[in-house]
Subunit: 341 residues, 2 copies
């Protein structure tokens, strides 16, 4: 039989409400009573029951974190642990608990989110991805439930939802320009999942850079695979089999790039001697690749941290307009890119 607020009240000779006020540290309680009550609390080993508190407060101090359905694979990509670190840090600062989704398929996840929203398991939701035609975003809007997405929502909703993102267009443009300046003309583009906004944006930035440099875009140079080692390997096969294979590669993700490097090595193609490789994310392993990967650091941790910050705002004031934040990027030059002159 656990100790309740009533037990404390009795022990301290006050009303339950007084105890409640002491817990909330209300200013309208004399410091003497506070002392007494606190003494009684610790003497009895009292601890507030969160379920009771949640029920009356209609909130749980929990944040839901939704990891994409590819999570079996997703968790293999260091991106997720890293965003999680950022989310965790801010959540902890704000005294929020984290409820992580465990669904394995899109349908399961949708059901789970629905449940956590409608059953009020959490006060807000962080979506760790965004892709075209995702049902979650419309659902959350319709329920007018606080949420934030890491990445960006579809164009028409840009002003309606809070999100934090990199400027992926600019990012892709930058890396492409870097390759261009190194003298490369034949630049392959190894994109990630085709439905992901980040992929679309990368493509746009890549195309812009080429256009601006007056280099025609070769459709054959555009390939799309999952952000996994295997994806990178397959992409290389596809690209290197071309009549005129590219001399440099823009790769959507470090992990993919590792696959790329590996396949290239197997083919006896030297990096950066014959082919240059540049990728995105700057996940830890990119440093350990051989050669160490030149990559664009997108500040993943910040992404998570900022997202949680925005989410908190929305929870505290649900009426507040949707806001967004752009996290910068920085080029980390290592040894996978070489000059073509």
């Amino acid at each position: 039989m656990p100790i309740t607020i009533k037990d404390v009240a009795k022990k301290a000779n006050v009303a339950p409400s007084t105890v409640s006020r002491v817990i909330a540290n209300s200013t309208r309680i004399s410091s003497k009573t506070k002392e007494n009550v606190r003494a009684a609390m610790s003497e009895l080993g009292y601890h507030p029951n969160f379920n009771a508190r949640n029920l009356v407060n209609q909130s749980t101090n929990m944040l839901g974190v939704v990891i994409p359905s590819a999570s079996q694979t997703a968790f293999h990509n260091p991106f997720f642990p890293e965003v999680l670190r950022g989310i965790t840090a801010k959540a902890h600062e704000e005294k929020y608990g984290l409820y992580v989704s465990t669904g394995q398929t899109d349908r399961e996840i949708f059901a789970e989110v629905k449940e956590m929203v409608q059953s009020k398991r959490v006060d807000g939701v962080v979506l760790l991805y965004s892709k075209t035609d995702d049902p979650l975003v419309p659902f959350l809007i319709q329920e007018s439930f606080p949420f934030v997405v890491v990445g960006r929502p579809p164009e028409p909703l840009l002003t309606e939802v809070s999100y934090v993102n990199n400027d992926n267009v600019k990012a892709a443009k930058l890396v492409t320009e870097y390759l261009l300046l190194l003298g490369h003309q034949d630049i392959g583009f190894i994109g990630g999942q085709k439905e992901a906004f980040v992929t679309l944006d990368h493509k746009t930035g890549y195309a812009k850079a080429l256009e601006q440099a007056g280099v025609p875009l070769t459709e054959d140079y555009l390939v799309y695979y999952e952000e996994l080692i295997e994806g990178g390997q397959q992409a290389v096969i596809e690209l290197m089999a071309l009549e005129k294979p590219p001399t440099s590669l823009v790769v959507a993700d470090d992990l993919m790039a590792l696959g790329v490097l590996r396949m290239l090595a197997e083919m006896g193609i030297s990096v950066p001697g014959e082919v240059s490789v540049i990728s995105f994310n700057n996940v830890m392993v990119s440093e350990l690749a051989s050669p160490p990967l030149t990559t664009l650091d997108i500040h993943i941790y910040q992404l998570g941290y900022k997202a949680t910050e925005l989410l908190k705002e929305r929870i505290v004031d649900p009426q507040s307009p949707a806001t967004s934040a752009v996290v910068g990027h920085t080029l980390v030059k290592r040894q996978s890119c070489g000059s073509r002159r």
Copy 2:
């Protein structure tokens, strides 16, 4: 104003208790009433409020997951995402939600666990580590709160707490013997955190193998560092500076081993030509090392999955005796070990 059980009751012309029974799918409700009530529920878009339910049931259907305090760094080690995958999978099967700890220091974590236990935020706890003199285990025992540890508890508590572990002694013995059989005599031991039980066990297995082979143990060959790239690098410096440096290395963790490989490469020492390296865990990146790491797969996913299974048993029947499970290991031979003959 959310829809409550009362609204449904009114709509269906029954009492709230009846609705409750329908939710619980009680057998003592006529199927006709069930139909009616369910119709009313979906028509109104009713969803049970978990906080209310939790309050009366005195449970939350949540599992707490405690990640070690080194989590800033820990999350960098793919071990954690991988156990999490296992936990997640089983939790989802059993319809449990996951509440992950967000504390950054040992003290914060302890406070957090205390809070989640005493405030009944979760029904049980998974401890993702175990080290000597950890206060969490005694605390949870004292509170007689259901929990399970991944790894092993201190000897005296072995029968009191549920845990799932590898046979780390045997594992370390195996890898050491492998090196021995390849003709190595001078085998360095790069352990992880000194307080961790896994480290102690590794050390024991290593020593056993040497003893059994009649090879004297050289104290200088034993070094301990954090399970991180940097740790591996420093360890190599320490070991290679010895008058008679080892010709092979048993490394506590793949990530460390990457650091080892790297530092060795910088020193111009070839692997496996001059020095052989073998490690534990078989985390994805070990395959991508150059040379690809020979490592002992400890089935991390299984560890998490099994742990959750045991935890569930304890929650369902808190009186049941503590149980434990041992997860096997398999040697994954790749290219970082060579013969010495």
